[in-house]
Amino acid sequence: MFHKIISRKDFADLIKDNMTIMIGGFLGCGTPETLVDVILEKGSKNLTIICNDTSFTDKGLGRLIAAKQVARVITSHIGTNAETGKQMVDGTLKVDLVPQGTLVERIRCAGAGLGGVLTPTGVGTMVEEGKQKLTVEGIDYLLELPLRAELALIGGSIVDKAGNVVYNGTTRNFNPIMAMAADVVVVEAQKLVEIGEIQPELVMTPSPLVTHIFAPAKS
């Protein structure tokens, strides 16, 4: 009934130079490592990556930066990846720093068909620059706009063959929000199960949001 499982090669074919890609995870926890492996192997260039943080040079999506495949990153924190700072100073990597709560709301707006949100975060700081400021009931807010991607790469703990996803522990983080805000959504399944094996209340990303499921071969 559902035919969502793709091969490593099929996934590689989806990746193009200059693509805008969201990648889930928080300092690597919840990041789909094998999907990142495939992009490293393919060597696609000039990527724009949207992510919570740039992880470490040898873990998660941080490896794409170390491999100089990224032209721009939209993120909240780069302090754990020395390459990000270095390439930013060298001028080879553009870094847009966004407060974490604002970043997730901007992605949510794109996924939820909202035109923007008003947040108090960043008022009176450099984050204000170039943004519309609105005052509601005497409080100043920044208008923050939606953020979308062509592709979202999601790290799922338990995935059924329809595409329903459960995230264990703190691997959830940005994953279910990003799964709503991209044209194509690929989930790497840590554990692939049959339809009906996931309690319907426990589903965190409903199956229609998932375009493709990638289940790495067990080593």
Partner: protein, 221 residues
């Protein structure tokens, strides 16, 4: 005209049911649209969403299998299919407004040649409220209005809605028991006609301008 209202509704439901492709996410409104679920062609799997918080909605429960915690947006008891899941209203309308729902099908008090519709208030008479309808018609990728062609002899498809709108310029397709119209940038196009009707009959019962498609087909139901 088709005098038998139940037959008319079945024709509409069967025609709309043919519109969906495999694994598309569809939201059916209360009333006539609910009937569509009974007429999905064999071999096609349609995934039903209901805005109260379920994807993978199945048929009414068998006697003795009722679960009061599993309902649809009309408050009726339903079931969840094995691939189904539940979520809160914020997520439900994120899915709806965020263009994740392929089709919404709903009834209307009036629908017009500009693709606007009215469905939630008759001022001074009846005010049920808009519920989720305003979000559904703004957010779904495709909006189908399912409607009897006339009500008490009066056309439902108009040049311009007179009642307060549910939304402006959002309807993609209008399906009645007599005809199927597409709303195009140039206006209404009659694209299908009931085998027992005629363009003249449709003109006589439609209060809107429309062109007749060069490709006019018989409604398959």
């Amino acid at each position: 005209m088709i005098e038998d209202v139940n037959l008319a509704k079945t024709i509409i439901a069967r025609r709309i049911a043919r519109e969906f492709k495999n694994n598309q996410l569809v939201n059916l409104g209360i009333g006539l649209p609910t009937l569509i679920a009974n007429h999905i062609p064999e071999g096609i799997n349609v995934i039903f969403q209901s805005e109260n918080g379920i994807i993978g909605m199945g048929p009414a429960p068998l006697p003795g299998k009722e679960n009061p915690d599993v309902t649809n947006a009309g408050g009726a008891l339903v079931t969840a299919l094995p691939y189904g899941c539940y979520f809160d209203t914020a997520m439900s309308f994120a899915l709806i407004r965020g263009k994740h729902v392929e089709y919404t099908v709903l009834g209307a008090l009036e629908v017009d040649q500009e693709g606007s519709l009215a469905s939630w208030i008759i001022p001074g008479k009846k005010v049920p409220g808009m519920g989720g309808a305003m979000d559904l018609v703004v957010g779904a990728k495709n909006v189908i209005v399912s409607t009897l062609h006339t009500e008490r002899g009066k056309p439902k498809i108009l040049k311009k809605c007179a009642l307060p709108l549910t939304a402006r310029h959002v309807v993609n397709m209008i399906v009645s028991e007599l005809a199927v119209f597409r709303v195009t940038p140039g206006g209404l196009a009659l694209i299908e006609i009931n085998k027992d009707s005629s363009v003249d009959e449709i003109r006589a019962n439609t209060d809107a301008d429309f062109i007749v498609s060069e490709n006019l087909k018989t409604m398959e139901v």
